[in-house]
Amino acid sequence: MMDELERTTQARAARVQAARAALDRRALLQGAVAGAGFFAGAAWLGGAARAAQSVAAGGTPQAAAKRRVVLVAFAGGVRTKETFGKPENIPNLKRIADSGVLYTRARSANLGHYGAALSIFNGVAEQRGIRENSRGDQPTVFELARKELGLPASEAWITTAGGAQQVNYSHSLHPDYGARYGATTLDGDGVFNREFKGLLEKHGRPREWPQGEKDALAALRRSISGGGAEAERRIAASERVEQWILSELGRGTAELTGANAADAKALRLARNLVALFKPTLTAVVLQEADMAHGNYGGYVEVVRRNDAAIGELWTAIQSDPELAATTTLVVVPEFGRDRDLNSRRGLDHGDGSDDLHYVTCLCAGPGLRRGLVVKEEVAVVDVAATTCDLVGAKGRGGRKLPQLRA
């Protein structure tokens, strides 16, 4: 089903293609105006969107100088055999790879989905319980970038598909970082589902409170919390996200179904967030490929559908001049899968084979090499330091992906 954002994105893509050759500041302003018009109802936008509106109004184009990363953890266990080993499954990733850098031997550690995916965000491969429902000890790229670059909460988002456990990726327990520097994290399938929508319909959507009541509420909250600037900031940020969720519920995300429904929701939300907030860091964690344990055909279908959804995300980025000029897309699985089918004609992950331990990592964006295939061994955990570098943060050091910059 084509939603309003898709129609707008396509229309915008057509406009941009026509004008791309003569892209100048004027075109940038037009793009920003179009975006601001579409989201006119969302006057509460975060810093990035406000910056874009400021550009449109003739202000300093700070947003254009910003560097952004969209990091897709193609998690759930995805082998190269079904992706770049079979390009017909992934026409979009192939298309993106042609304009970027492909690392065909990215070594991963078999730490279970949770630990391995977490290592993409904190750069540290450490053993975690498969069903461990607690945060990591090392700061994530969100915390590192937000603290070092002084970014507000609206500049780092992560959308997930794997339920409650994945919400732990938002931030670490590190005493110098933690929740105050974490990403705003949203599991798409948890909020944007028919049951929650049904609950809203059953009770009726919350009504808009008149200004007098809002003022009274602010006074009540000050009395209860004891006041303070930090408490007021938290409450204001919370109200902004509340408004966004309520508006997003009307955009069709809750109706997405199919083999990759949870992944599709995470990718759809990321696409909408990137277009709306233009954050510095947006991450997506997928998970549905793990159905491969018992359903090889379903797994391949998930790979195909996720390829299509990542293609839409890439198109949304490329169709916005500001985003196209500043955004790098990184796509990497947390690990692969076994070499051979199991007794249920599915694919587990535990045989120690190269199919399990080596995956393919893709990076594409402005200032990067184009069409380069790097065959030397790199590590999946190198993505964390690379991501920090791409947004202009030093992070905590660590090895970065080689031969990336043009």
Binding site: R131, G163, N193, Q211, A219, S225, S238, E242, H349, G350
Partner: protein
Amino acid sequence: MFPRPATSSTRAARQDGATPAEPRRLSAGELRRVCLDLLGRPPLAEERARWTDASADAVLEELVASRRFWEQWLDEQLWYFLLVDQFAPRGEGVLRLPDELAAGELDAREAVHRIALAPNFDQRNPGADTFVTVVMEQLCGLQVDKARRELELGKKMYEGAEARFLGGAGRSQSDVVKLAVASDEFARHYIAREHARVAHRAAEPRQLAAWARRFAKEPREYPILVREWLSGASLDERLARRRPLSNRAWARALHVDLMGREPTREELEPMRQALDALADPAPLCGVMARLLLDGGKARIEAPGADRAAWVRARWLEVLGREPRPDELAGVVEAMARPGCRVETVLYALVTSEEAATS
């Protein structure tokens, strides 16, 4: 730091002497927190009336014998194994566990065994490597990277080969579970995690070893252990610090505080699932509270002429404490504003950071 709950309890005499110790009694705030810990919700009105200022021992005895205690126990176990959402058990075998446990027909070890044999546990942990890893990690508290050989033996057994795993012989997936649940490691790990859940702190190694031995010998002692963990100084220690509520406890508390009843499963699950979808659920807590308050179904006692008395009663119900003087003055003043409704005050109260703690 939030203020300590008001207490009307009398403390047990601690000095040496002939004076017999008075029983430890639970104030309204303490009762709320103990109920949230053990029942996953605040006390209902009739429980509040019966248990406030009652002896802590008597309340705990009644609590751990209730079906609701075992319902909460099951809820916690399913969360521990992440058997939630699409992996939540639907079969009668698991769903009737609270009835059987409350009736004494089953003990906690047998119940965990049944959970690990349920089809959903298998679906949640597909394949030999994942399944055996989870059994070792979650049932026995073992680190697989330090027990690789055991993992490989367990995987062989899972695939149907004769093997020895955790000290016993077997040749099937169900044998893997049976041997894990029967192991000493299971008893130690189960007691350690349950103590941490109930007492909100790690156990001392010697105490833990003694409790694990008792549990291994007689698993039906588990409810007695829970009472011990929440008695005397341990109870005082637990109540000395507030802890964040889980999202499901918060959603249940919201229903009890605003509707005067527990939510149905159909009401709770979408709320819980949505709250769990955010690392910081505060934005959705506001949505949930407004759903109930604006939907006109909340059970709201209208304030009479004495607004301060109304505020005190609501603060005791929801936060388990009297309002601070400045707080009381500020709230009463806000209530006099033209735009302020009773619902506005309740909204501010139930969505406060303090209400999200226990």
